[in-house]
Symmetry: C2
Amino acid sequence: MTGIDWVGVDWGTSNVRAWGLASDGRVSAEAASDKGMSKLDRAGFEPALLDLIGDWLPHGRQTPVVACGMVGARQGWLEVPYRDTPCSPVAADGAGHPKARDPRLLVSIVPGLRQIDPTPDVMRGEETQIAGLLSQDPGFEGVVCLPGTHTKWVRIAAGEIIFFQTFMTGELFDLIGTHSVLRHSLDGTGREDGEFMNSVEAMMAAPETLAARLFSIRAEALVSGLAPAAARSRLSGLLIGAELAAARAHWRGREVVIVGASQQAELYAKALSSLGAKVRSVDATKVTLAGLKSAHEQISR
Amino acid sequence: MTGIDWVGVDWGTSNVRAWGLASDGRVSAEAASDKGMSKLDRAGFEPALLDLIGDWLPHGRQTPVVACGMVGARQGWLEVPYRDTPCSPVAADGAGHPKARDPRLLVSIVPGLRQIDPTPDVMRGEETQIAGLLSQDPGFEGVVCLPGTHTKWVRIAAGEIIFFQTFMTGELFDLIGTHSVLRHSLDGTGREDGEFMNSVEAMMAAPETLAARLFSIRAEALVSGLAPAAARSRLSGLLIGAELAAARAHWRGREVVIVGASQQAELYAKALSSLGAKVRSVDATKVTLAGLKSAHEQISR
């Protein structure tokens, strides 16, 4: 394996992905594993990284590795202090440099961001995707929605992140679907878009009814045979609808850029379009790579 | 062990409790285990019951056992069809009679209740507590709140349950506290009543903000060191507050009877009192026993 100039790594809670980049910017190698931050102790990060990219690294010199995400959290490889908003998504300063035993590794970790006012919030990883979005579209101003386990809404102006807000919607869906009494009513696959949109609209109209409507999924399955696909769509409609009701100020009458093409991102796009927002979707992998490239250029400058 | 006329059993999802009743109505024996419905297959119920009460049963005759709760669910000892509301909480008809191998057992299971209109809902066990409440206070009309894993609100008029509604508040608290990213911020014990009431009031004023406020517990722990006791109280304030916002029509300007003296029941009482409802608490064990007695009298009549 030759021609790798540097390595970009997206290291999240559950998974890790790495790309080997040539000097012309092209991806010449790619690898992934399930060794996310939550499965590793501090000493486990370097071996997990070498499992993925060890074969890519030439001997006799250091290869820069630029990583973003939960790898920089307190439970990560090295706790990298947050940068404070409002600020540009990535910058030359503040990167963390965990010491590696392998002399071929020169690792930098992109700092996450912290918001103190008006509401406390944190992100690790999404700042790099925002940097990628801005490097592809330097004048961008507006609202970005990044669906995920913890969905982020990010407001951008003059090249800076000026406000962001996190919702646990994805995690709640997984918890309720896996562990709660509703799991008995959700088994299987498929979805019903009519149920989804009805639930989104019910939450927009009466968000205070969420707590009651959750159990009614189970009750309707028992009482009137609500089918699993309908039940799943109703649950995601209730949770995404509750989020959109709370996030209304971010998207109402605006264009929203949605990062990702997962089924979850599609549901956000469908709901937002139907509620009158203008939606544009961008590829998550592309903006992550572009953001890691932007971070690499700034850190190694 | 002599003098036991019949046995009452409260058999829930997680636990089972049994009382041996003398002919004068006094409790002359008591036993409990963690062999709830969720830990047993169909063949496991009789052995689990005999473990608890086998020593109480005289030979040579059948002792009536009256059980309420999830023991009558599809995953229980015998699926007992629901009775439909509006109806009296328990009645002579409809009890289930699982066949026992031990000739000393004559088991009856109190049917749960089903509501089709205006919203589908189900209960198994709470109907017996309501029957106990009515046997102690026959003319009671009004609203009963039964805090639990699945909190129930029940409207009673003319001796009948005319409407009920279930909230998954307790289960959500346990799921979020045990499995979600917030668990890192909730460790420990203690509570802060100011945080609790602030969160209840925030939910009453703006219930649509629930989805955003949940993650802010984690963010504030990271950003500004929110203490675990405050974080726990905030989480229960948000979830109970969201429920009270959705259940407002049940308690506003009314007296609410709260069944139970658990810490959770105390929080409901504190929140409801502070929001202007008149609260009266009754002992859960007492009304369960009174309800089982009422069921026994009706079934064996």
